[in-house]
Amino acid sequence: MKGILRSMATTLSTFARKPVTREYPETHRELPERDRAFPVLLWDAEVTEPFCTGCHACERACPVECMTVLMKDNPAHKSVGGESSRRKIIDKFWIDYGRCMRCNICVEVCNFGAISMNNTWSGHEQSAYDRAELVQDLPMLLAASRSGELKPWVNE
């Protein structure tokens, strides 16, 4: 078999193969290990509060200044009858995902393992109609960790 017939056989063999297209919004390709999307805050499930103490380390280290952190006294600290050992805790936290460049420095500098890079597809897909919608507040930042959708190796 040669020439024209061979070229037709080639195309037919392609025809028999499975299409390689992934229908993107419905089907995501597998994320690679150590993938990192945008930073999120982690939730301490044992004492039901964020790990973050609001120490400003990440805020100061952030090269693009996308973070704003406010600290407060922990109302659930042991001294006031609670069960938490954190004297200070995060009050308000904003990250502007429109500025963040996913450099991972905030994760590196955090002394409490309180911030981490989202390792799911929902961490990548942040399209919005308005820039302001890209600014995440504390409940939004904690949501991924609280719901347990993050893959377990997130704070290794």
């Binding site: 040669k2 020439g3 070229s7 195309t11 392609t14 025809f15 297209t21 229908e23």
Partner: protein, 376 residues
């Protein structure tokens, strides 16, 4: 007295038949466009349209709506009448061919004694529309594409008609219904494989399908005659193209593959015959998609010499051989065996000729050779 469909006066009857034809063809064309996109996508390991409706089934409807809603632009310098009329001249002759094509035995719009000749004659009228489109657009690409289309259509018309004549010699009729009836036991492609091959190749060229799409090649003449067309007029060109694809495949199914008669016989009833014919036509259409996915476009000079140097001699030789065999009135078995053997030999020689010409690098045109020599 002409037999009418629902016992109505002839005028109403004709109008109803026309409406059926136009309605069916529009749906068929939309289905074909969808199928072509899907099949071609699979040939390239893609999915094709998936977003509109389940499995993208409504893609053609969406496209049609978009085209109808689009502005119908006419360039300022265009020849108004010629420009506006050209789509009709592409589209109407194609639909005329529908009159004689048999879906099932005795189930065509009209049974014509010269049906084969009629379909071939009518299907080549649309070239006038192409020239009008090219001329009326007042665009160089358009006229260039139109002239290519004319050259191609004229050169491939000859082998097409001659191939059909050699089949008609064997079938002993030009009436399409008779030709289909004659294939109740064995389809004509067995006795006449070479005309079948020639028919298929010329079909591609007649309809400007790849690999013979130089007249409408986007990368060469940016769409050829339909550069300046938009909206509904452009879609009429497309409608004509796909309608002629369907009609010519039906013709091929009737003439070479036995239409509704082979292999289950006539007494099967009209629905089965129609299904058989459509399946056979579908096979031819799939072959067209397949060739489109397989071969690169021919250059214009290659296209012309392919027709005049390979296809035309082969078709004439087939007619001569057929005549020489049929004139002796041999016993039917021997006669048909001889026809099949000679025609199959013709297929082999045409195929090897094609392969040889593909394998041999063609010398570049002298001007180009001199130019590159000067650069060096």
């Amino acid at each position: 007295m002409i037999e009418t469909l629902f016992g109505l006066p002839v005028g109403f009857d004709a109008a109803i038949r026309l409406l059926i034809v136009v309605g069916v063809m529009t749906v068929v064309v939309m289905a074909l466009i969808y199928l072509e996109r899907k099949v071609l996508a699979r040939f390239q390991q893609r999915l094709g349209p998936t977003r509109t409706g389940p499995m993208g089934l409504l893609q053609s409807v969406a496209d049609a709506l978009k085209l109808i809603a689009k502005e119908d632009v006419r360039p300022k310098n265009a020849d108004a009448w010629v420009f506006e009329l050209a789509p009709f001249l592409v589209f109407v002759p194609t639909f005329l061919g529908f009159v004689a094509v048999p879906f099932a035995i005795a189930w065509n719009v009209r049974e014509l004694e010269l049906g084969l000749l009629y379909v071939l004659a009518v299907s080549s009228v649309n070239i006038v529309g192409w020239v009008m489109a090219g001329w009326g657009s007042d665009n160089r690409y358009a006229i260039l594409g139109a002239l290519r289309a004319v050259a191609q259509s004229i050169s491939y018309e000859l082998p097409l008609v001659l191939a059909m004549i050699s089949v008609a010699m064997v079938a002993n009729s030009l009436n399409l219904v008779e030709i289909v009836r004659g294939q109740a036991s064995v389809p004509n492609i067995v006795w006449q494989p070479l005309p079948a091959l020639l028919f298929f190749i010329c079909l591609l060229a007649e309809m400007n399908r790849p690999p013979f799409d130089a007249p409408v090649g986007e990368s060469e003449v940016v769409g050829g005659p339909y550069v300046e067309y938009s909206g509904i007029r452009w879609s009429m060109f497309f409608l004509g193209e796909y309608a002629s694809m369907f009609i010519m495949s039906l013709l091929g199914a009737a003439v070479f593959l036995g239409g509704g008669a082979w292999p289950l016989g006539e007494e099967l009833g009209v629905p089965w015959q129609i299904a058989l014919t459509v399946v056979k036509a579908g096979a031819i259409i799939f072959l067209m998609f397949w060739t489109r996915a397989s071969f690169p476009r021919l250059r214009v000079d290659q296209m012309m010499s392919f027709s005049w140097k390979i296809l035309l001699p082969a078709s004439i030789a087939q007619i001569l051989v057929n005549g020489a065999i049929l004139v002796y009135q041999l016993p039917s078995g021997l006669e048909h065996t001889l026809l099949a053997v000679f025609s199959a030999a013709g297929v082999v020689s045409v195929y090897s000729a094609i392969n040889r010409s593909v394998a041999t690098p063609r010398p570049r045109p002298l001007v180009l050779a001199q130019r590159s020599e000067a650069v060096r």
